[in-house]
Every structure is written in structure tokens, then in C-alpha cells.
């Protein structure tokens, strides 16, 4: 009990004094997860919109698959990316394994289905309202996709926040492809796992607080955006 009290005090002092190794880990975490969300957004939102409005053969299975992939286990993604990037793998020559870039790739893959599935839902809701009017104006699907993405922008921000929440909190994928190398690929979640097993509870707890604060902040942000964009009525 005393140990825990001591660790807690140490953790707080690390936070207050902005301990350099702590800050480094937090910044790398943010960098990796924001990069992953950016890539997933660019690759995911337009695809979600296309799935929402275009009816082509194979659309339904795709929708089901992306919905299912929202629950993809991070270690599976980690394993998959590891195999791709390992020296013997198809992308081995790029030498990306155990670099922050590999972590960005893994998290982007993890977040991508979330962005696709949730933005499809958001765009589909809007499309129900817009379809006739846009078609009446002569819009084809390649006009409708950017229009709907822009008009659903508030909903899409909450989608990206959900994706970021997933990325920043996962440990399995970055652990496998990053390798948790001190000062290079060590992020919050992998540090917490390592330091806890090493018995360095103070460091783990300090990171835990930061992670918790970030997740709460994200949810507050998402909540605020939802509140602001409630239908105004006519």
C-alpha cells in the first residue's frame, strides 16, 4: 500500500516537472496516432461515402466486412504488418520494421475500418435526406461524395475522434511492429506494459494518467460536437 502511495506521488511529480522521458513518450504516441488517423481518414472517409450511396455488386458484403473489422484485434494487425515488413516479407526491403512509421501503418490499418464503417453510416443518414434534391440538380455520385462528406463534417469529426481513441489506447499492434525500443518506438501503452512488469509503477502510473486524461478529453470533445450539431429544427 505504501509502495503504491509512493509511486503515485512520484508519478504526480513527474507530471508536474514534465519529466523529459515521459514527455518524449507522450509526444511520440500523439505523433504516431495522429498520423495513423490522418491516413485512415484520407483512405477511409471517401470509401465510406461511396459505400453509402453507390449500389454495386458486392456492396453488402463489403459493408458487413468493414463493420466486422471495426473489432479487429490489434495484435492481429500487428502480426499482419510485422509479416509484411519483416526482412523476408514483401515490404521488407523498405526497412520499416521497428520504426515509428511501421507503428503508423499498423494503427492506420486498425483505424481504417472504423473510419470506413462509421462514415458510411453518417453519410448514409444524410443521403436519405439529400438524395432526391441532389439527383434533381444533376449530381452524379462523384459530385455527391464530396458534397456529403463536407455536409457531414461534424459527424465525421466525431468519427475521427473515435478512431484516434482506438489508436492511442491500443498496445498490441505497436508493441509487435515497434518493438518498444527506448527513445525510438516506445509509446504510452507499450511503456505502461513494460514499466509495470518491471515494477516501475511511478512511470507507468504517470503515463496512465496522461492516457486517461487524453481519452476523457477526446470524449468531452466528441460530446460537445454532438451537442452543437443537434438538429436546429426549422
Amino acid at each position: 500500500m505504501n509502495d503504491i502511495g509512493l509511486a503515485l506521488r512520484q508519478a504526480l511529480s513527474m507530471l508536474v516537472t514534465l519529466d523529459p522521458s515521459l514527455v518524449g513518450v507522450v509526444l511520440l504516441s500523439l505523433q504516431v496516432s495522429l498520423g495513423a488517423v490522418l491516413i485512415a481518414a484520407i483512405a477511409g472517409a471517401p470509401l465510406g461515402a461511396v459505400l453509402a450511396i453507390c449500389h454495386f455488386p458486392g456492396r453488402r458484403p463489403l459493408v458487413v466486412i468493414f463493420n466486422a473489422l471495426m473489432g479487429l484485434p490489434p495484435v492481429m494487425v500487428g502480426l499482419f504488418v510485422y509479416v509484411l515488413l519483416s526482412r523476408a516479407g514483401p515490404l521488407g526491403p523498405l526497412g520499416l520494421l521497428f520504426t515509428p512509421r511501421a507503428m503508423v501503418i499498423a494503427q492506420a490499418l486498425l483505424v481504417w475500418p472504423i473510419v470506413v464503417a462509421l462514415s458510411r453510416q453518417a453519410v448514409e443518414d444524410l443521403w436519405i435526406e439529400y438524395a432526391e434534391a441532389l439527383r434533381s440538380l444533376g449530381a452524379r455520385w462523384w459530385h455527391a461524395v464530396p458534397t456529403l462528406l463536407w455536409d457531414a463534417r461534424h459527424a465525421l469529426i466525431t468519427v475521427l475522434l473515435a478512431g484516434f481513441g482506438r489508436a492511442i489506447a491500443e498496445v498490441g499492434a505497436v508493441m509487435i511492429v515497434g518493438g518498444n525500443i527506448d527513445g525510438v518506438t516506445r509509446v504510452m501503452t507499450t511503456s505502461i506494459a513494460l514499466e509495470t512488469s518491471k515494477g516501475n509503477l511511478a512511470f507507468a502510473m504517470a503515463l496512465g494518467f496522461v492516457l486517461l486524461a487524453l481519452v476523457v478529453l477526446l470524449n468531452a470533445l466528441a460530446f460537445t460536437i454532438r451537442q452543437r450539431t443537434m438538429p436546429h429544427g426549422t
Binding site: C54, A133, S136, L137, G138, A139
Partner: protein
């Protein structure tokens, strides 16, 4: 890649060069429906409709709820594809047309951007869009709200915006599907004024309504439909003085004071 089922080719895409004209000067194209039919899930909604809309009179489509008024207009506009029969324009060429819906859809952007968006889709060059959009907003009395977020407009203002968006395209034919069904009397009057002004500029007006007073004010001719069939297509004065069918007589008698 070009084929896409969810967004059927809008055969009526406004021709860019023509959309820039202030108003069509020649008489608006006539719409010829021949044995037009539309069924969905085995249920016949429009049944063997043959009607010619020509001349320059405003056409009002009347009929009880569920008669098929909305579906008929969507078939005419090209939003639905007939399951039998045919529909053509005379002269046969792509016709610039627009439609105003019962529930106006406004894009979540500024009032002005709502109109420039339509002009963009119509192929109007970027440098002309702003001026044309302002012009259209002025005509419906919304120029003062041009920079306002469109989703903050009142119901009446939204419908006027929808009319401005349609008018900006200088349509040869304008369909209005119960445009005043959800509006208060003042907004209804504004919509009627605008519809008459668009008509005066040479556009063919085809409008459905539930409001018999409105039909009396606006109609040149009446298309009365019931259960998906056209029962009468006659000049409005004759329809209101002596409806030729039992269905129409019953429909008119049900009017509340």
C-alpha cells in the same frame, strides 16, 4: 465505371450554355406521357397515364392522398423510371428542368453557396456563379441572408431558397411537389408569388397541391388523379364549375370552408 445504379443519369442535366440565359424566350417544351405506368413491389402506383402538357398555362395536379401525385411528378422529372409506357418532350431534346420538394433540402453551407452549388452542377463557369446566385436570391427576397448558414433558415425561407436554387438554373420546366404543405399563410403567399414570377419568365409550371384555394389561385389547367389514374385533365374554371367525374365532385365537396 461510368455506370451507377444509385444515381441514374439525369437525362435532364441543364445545358451549360443555356443555363446562363436569363429566361427561355421560346414557348416551354411540351411533356407527352403515353400510357405511363409505375409499379413498385408489385403495387401499381401510376396506372396507364396519357396526358399532354402543352400551351403556357400553369398545370396543377390535384388528387387525394396516395393518389400518386408525387410519384407522377418524379416520373416526369426523371427521378423515377417508368415501368411501362413512355414519356417524351416536344421538341425532343434535353430539357432544363428543376424540382422543388415538399420538404426543402438545404445543404449545410451558406445560403449563397446553396445556389452556387446548383450552378456549379449545371456547368456555369465559376466567375459567373456568384452574380447569378445573388440575382436569384434577390428575386426571392433572400439576398440579405446570403451569407447566413442555410440550415438556420425558417421553413418558409428554406422553401424560398429552394425556389431560388431552381430559378437560378433558368429552367424551362419547374416541378413543384406540394411546396407549401408545411408553410404558414405568409410563406405560402410568398411561394405562390415566386412560382407565378417564374412562370411569367416563360417557365412551364407543374405543381401539385392539397390546397384547393391555392389551386383556384394558380391553376390554368387541372390534372385530377385518383388511384394512379388521370381522371380529368381540363381547364381550371371548368373543373371547379362542373367537374366531369364523380371522383372529382366528391373530392371538391369534401373541401372544408
Amino acid at each position: 465505371m461510368e455506370r451507377d445504379v444509385s444515381l441514374p443519369a439525369a437525362s435532364h442535366r441543364p445545358a451549360p450554355e443555356a443555363a446562363q440565359a436569363a429566361a427561355p424566350l421560346s414557348p416551354p417544351p411540351a411533356l407527352v406521357l403515353e400510357r405511363l405506368g409505375y409499379a413498385r413491389a408489385g403495387q401499381v402506383i401510376i396506372d396507364d397515364v396519357s396526358v399532354v402538357l402543352n400551351g403556357t398555362a400553369r398545370t396543377l395536379i390535384l388528387g387525394p392522398n396516395g393518389a400518386g401525385k408525387s410519384v407522377l411528378m418524379r416520373l416526369c422529372h426523371g427521378l423515377l423510371v417508368p415501368t411501362s409506357g413512355s414519356l417524351r418532350w416536344e421538341p425532343a431534346r434535353p430539357v432544363r428542368q428543376a424540382m422543388v420538394f415538399q420538404r426543402p433540402v438545404v445543404l449545410r453551407r451558406s445560403v449563397l453557396a446553396n445556389v452556387t452549388y446548383a450552378l456549379h452542377l449545371a456547368g456555369v463557369p465559376r466567375r459567373r456563379r456568384r452574380a447569378q446566385a445573388f440575382d436569384a436570391l434577390e428575386r426571392v427576397g433572400l439576398a440579405g441572408l446570403a451569407s447566413r448558414a442555410a440550415d438556420l433558415l425558417s421553413g418558409g425561407e428554406r422553401q424560398r431558397l429552394a425556389l431560388a436554387r431552381a430559378w437560378a438554373l433558368a429552367p424551362e420546366v419547374l416541378f413543384l411537389d406540394e411546396p407549401t404543405a408545411n408553410l404558414d399563410p405568409a410563406s405560402t403567399a410568398a411561394v405562390e408569388r415566386i412560382a407565378m414570377a417564374i412562370h411569367a419568365a416563360g417557365t412551364r409550371i407543374v405543381m401539385s397541391t392539397h390546397n384547393l384555394g391555392q389551386a383556384r389561385r394558380l391553376a390554368g389547367d387541372i390534372v385530377f388523379i385518383d388511384q394512379g389514374r388521370v381522371i380529368e385533365h381540363v381547364p381550371a374554371p371548368r373543373f371547379f364549375a362542373a367537374p366531369g367525374s364523380m371522383n372529382a365532385r366528391r373530392y371538391l365537396e369534401a373541401e372544408l370552408p
